[in-house]
């Protein structure tokens, strides 16, 4: 009886240990956790990986890349779509060309498209991934699902860029658009980058040197700190970092040779210049023609006024926030990363993006925009109405 009691007690005690004992004696999960060492810090990573794999597949005459068939685009004449593609107006094949491509209208590409030369999309269409060895031209109201890369990339009005867009030389957004990540040595918003270079080299007159009284300067730490809201008069110039543990307002044409940390919101009036970085827990709003040498990081929102320049040729910088709004004339050297949504503003009537034809309330694909509803604007008069869309698996 005692033996039975003890045995049952032992069973009850050891029962919760059973999964542990099994995993210990018969391991199923013993490899070190994977460390991502490339992807997140290398925006063109997806595009370059795809191109390498495609080139290998083509060189070995493989019919497929992963699960997708590889198709050759026609050098002349009509595209050879299969019956299902013609019927559904959607191709899931990977298309590749050794020359230039102009993609036909009325066809959604849910497989990648790669061209050794230039690639021009059709308006109002949806693309999963686009690679161009030369110029990539995203026509009006095109939608990108995952990534696009080219030597130069031109984005026209109404595009919705839900994936990464990268370029070896330059990205230009010629009209209103929404975006997630733009990465190139020069990213222009409806402007000529040469104009920005002239602006960034312009010296500003100093009206007042030094920071106002609430700022406590520490020589060893090489920074000033301020624990209350701070308003700096226009034309003030100073050297060194500044940490403001409340809101910071900079008047017009303030100049600082250092970096900023702001616990509240940062508001810089027109023509301010900052050689370092600005890291802000609240919102960053730069007035027109501000010049920032380093990066801008916000935990809520960044608004770049018309003509602002971030970074410089050869000195790349990052503009990163959950929400980014950019006015025409802005030039960013490096990366703009809006983790929720980035959008243009200040384009007048054209600010209003047309609704994409495939985006219905029930059938829209997951484009990664948390605030999608906010970006949806009624279609222009005469625009085609949305059609139901079934996202790719």
């Amino acid at each position: 009886m005692w033996a039975l009691l003890l045995s049952l007690t032992a069973v009850v005690v050891l029962l919760p240990m059973l999964p542990a004992i099994l995993e210990w004696r018969f391991p199923t999960d013993v490899v070190p956790l994977h460390i991502d060492s490339q992807d997140a810090l290398d925006p063109p990573f997806l595009a370059r990986s795809f191109k390498v794999r495609l080139d290998e597949a083509v060189a070995q005459s493989q019919p497929r890349l992963g699960k997708s068939h590889i198709a050759e685009t026609p050098s002349t004449g009509a595209w050879r779509f299969i019956e299902r593609e013609r019927r559904t107006h959607a191709s899931r094949r990977v298309w590749q060309s050794t020359g230039d491509i102009t993609l036909p209208a009325e066809m959604t590409y849910l497989g990648e498209v790669a061209a050794q030369g230039s690639l021009r999309t059709a308006p109002n269409e949806v693309y999963r991934g686009l690679w161009a060895g030369e110029r990539l031209n995203l026509a009006n109201c095109a939608t990108l699902l995952r990534w696009a890369h080219g030597r130069t990339v031109d984005v026209h009005s109404g595009c919705q860029l839900a994936g990464r867009v990268s370029a070896d030389e330059r990205i230009t957004l010629w009209g209103p658009a929404t975006f997630l990540l733009l990465h190139a040595p020069v990213v222009c918003f409806n402007t000529d980058p040469a104009r920005a270079q002239v602006a960034s080299s312009r010296p500003l007159p100093v009206l007042q040197a030094g920071l106002p009284e609430p700022v406590v300067w520490n020589d060893i730490a090489q920074r000033g700190t301020c624990d209350e809201p701070l308003e700096i008069l226009g034309g003030t110039a100073w050297q060194g970092d500044l940490v403001c543990r409340a809101d910071l307002v900079m008047g017009p044409r303030c100049t600082t040779d250092g970096s900023l940390k702001v616990h509240g919101d940062l508001e810089a009036d027109a023509g301010c210049q900052l050689t370092g970085n600005a890291v802000v827990e609240g919102r960053i709003e730069l007035g027109p023609n501000c010049i920032v040498g380093g990066s801008l990081l916000s935990e809520t929102e960044i608004v770049l006024g018309a003509g602002c320049v971030v970074g410089a040729p050869g000195r790349l910088a990052t503009v990163a926030a959950p929400r980014v709004r950019v006015a025409p004339g802005v030039v960013v050297h490096g990366t703009i990363w809006a983790s929720d949504i980035g959008r243009t503003q200040g384009y007048g009537v054209a600010d209003e993006l047309p609704r994409q034809r495939f985006i219905g309330a029930a059938g829209r694909p997951d484009l990664g925009f948390d605030e999608w509803a906010e970006t949806q604007i009624d279609p222009r008069p005469g625009q085609r109405q949305p059609r139901q869309y079934k996202a790719a698996a």
């Binding site: 956790l33 990465h183 060893i220 730490a221 990081l297 970074g311 990052t318």
Partner: protein, 479 residues
């Protein structure tokens, strides 16, 4: 001794008794509580006298209170990671004018591992002209020097070795000397058994765009996880500690801890708080608190991950944790009061800072709690209800405090999406008991033996297990 509360009770007796028993189970498990319609009578009797009985009661209640605070802290952190808003303010920094940085590789008799560490550093994607690697070879008596010199020849101009042949022993003293040779604005410190991944330096440097950041800490991931049960348990502990504990403190604006390796330091901040202190055993904890008191932030970057080698036998693990405990408790003694008095620091940060300083003191207190429970059981006069309350108290000691960290481990494994390994969590009590005993021994040694003439703090170097050069790290396939 009788304590009479004359306040009349309004609730039904059964409900009152149940509520009181529940409350007593948490706070006063040892008190005999005869209850009447009109009074609370708390009786504590003991053959050793009322003072003995009440002392045990009060001590147990205080311990339970403290353990409850730590338990709540663990649960808050876990829930924050699972359901709260996450802060990764520097993770999106892709393009930047990266500053010059010196990378220290602290090495004392590290011939088995240092070549791998240096080779990995030579393969990182940080601009070569902005990165100087400085192996800090601290009085090694094995082949560490020759290995370093061989790597230096292989990568000319990229490595500036610092062979330290004399001076005060210890990592802090070696780093102090090495820092004198640095002409960059930032340093990053690795131990020699670490295997930095390709993007790690950029990730560690990203938070320094923020002029308020004095130190950055990355995440440590065990590389030899499959060696035996101990390494698998340590893998789980590391996950809980970094993926949940550190990141939750980062999310909540509390006190992420600089851990002495896989971390970066701003030289201006280091100088502003008095440089390295070479009389401490845990220079990392010491620096974390000096930076905090000096108005600098320490940032935890969960995506700055680096492989390390964890101990593969219990003896090494015990020595490692004893060293950590002594160093941490030393920092507790030094910094608790200044932290408490510093009104420039928000109250929540001060409280979290104090709780963090006290984590290595909880193990001896936990053991003390078990002892008190047993003493009370045998020496305090009991009525019918009290044995049940004592049982609750005993289980409370076991289930609260550091045991609540198991919830953190489960949450971390869930977040890491490597869910099969969580089955081993039932074995973590083993690691916990070993740690508790080791820490308690460390506290006793520190309080008593280390103060005797001829004794003192002794640095125990962690044994390395790697023998053959190995591949830099497991890498993922291109997407």
């Amino acid at each position: 001794m009788t304590f009479v509360v004359t306040k009349p009770l309004a609730a039904p007796l059964a409900v009152r008794n149940a509520l009181f028993a529940l409350a007593a189970g948490w706070a006063l498990p040892c008190v005999a509580i005869p209850m009447t319609e009109t009074t609370w009578r708390l009786e504590v009797t003991s053959p050793f006298g009322a003072v003995w009985g009440w002392s045990l009661c009060v001590a147990t209640a205080l311990l339970l209170l403290l353990l409850t605070v730590y338990a709540v802290r663990h649960y808050v952190f876990s829930l924050n990671r699972l359901f709260g808003a996450q802060r990764h303010p520097y993770a999106s920094l892709v393009s930047a004018q990266w500053p010059r940085v010196t990378i220290f590789v602290a090495a004392h008799n590290e011939e088995a591992v240092i070549a791998d560490c240096l080779a990995n550093l030579m393969a990182v994607d940080y601009p070569e002209d902005r990165m100087i690697v400085m192996p800090v070879n601290d009085r090694s008596s094995d082949g560490t020097r020759e290995i370093i010199d061989a790597v230096v020849k292989k990568f000319p101009g990229r490595i500036q070795p610092f062979h330290r042949t004399s001076g005060k022993p210890g990592k802090a003293a070696a780093l102090k000397d090495a820092t004198e040779l640095v002409d960059t604005d930032f340093i990053i410190v690795f131990d020699a058994d670490y295997l930095p991944s390709r993007g790690l330096i950029r990730r560690l440097m990203a938070p320094f765009t923020d002029p308020e950041v004095g130190a950055v800490m990355g995440r440590v991931v065990p590389n030899n996880v499959g060696a035996n049960l101990l390494t698998r348990l340590l893998d789980l502990e590391r996950s809980g500690g970094y993926q949940v504990d550190q990141q939750a403190r980062q999310n909540m604006g509390l006190v992420p801890q600089y851990g002495g390796t896989v971390g970066g330091i701003r030289i201006a901040a280091l100088k502003a708080v008095g440089g390295w202190h070479d009389d401490v055993l845990a220079e990392d904890t010491d620096l974390t608190y000096r930076l905090l008191l000096g108005g600098w932030q320490t940032v935890y970057h969960n995506r700055a991950e680096c492989y390390e080698e964890v101990p593969q036998n219990w003896g090494v693990r015990v020595r490692q944790i004893k060293r950590w405990a002594k160093g941490h408790n030393q920092a507790m003694v030094r910094h608790s009061l200044p932290l408490l008095r510093n009104r420039d620091i928000p109250l929540s940060v001060r409280i979290d800072g104090l709780l963090l300083l006290g984590v290595y003191f909880m193990s001896p207190l936990l053991i003390l709690g078990w002892l008190l429970s047993l003493l009370m059981y045998f020496t305090v006069s009991l009525d019918v209800a009290t044995p049940a309350l004592l049982a609750i108290a005993f289980m409370g000691h076991s289930a609260l405090g550091n045991f609540a960290a198991f919830f953190e481990i489960a949450a971390a494994v869930h977040l890491d999406r490597s869910r099969q390994r969580v089955r081993l969590i039932a074995f973590n009590w083993l690691g916990f008991i070993v740690s508790a005993v080791a820490i308690a021994r460390a506290v006793l040694e520190q309080a008593l033996l280390d103060r005797l003439p001829g004794r003192g703090f002794h640095w125990d170097k962690t044994v390395r297990y790697r023998r053959a050069p190995q591949v830099s790290q497991p890498t993922g396939l291109p997407v």
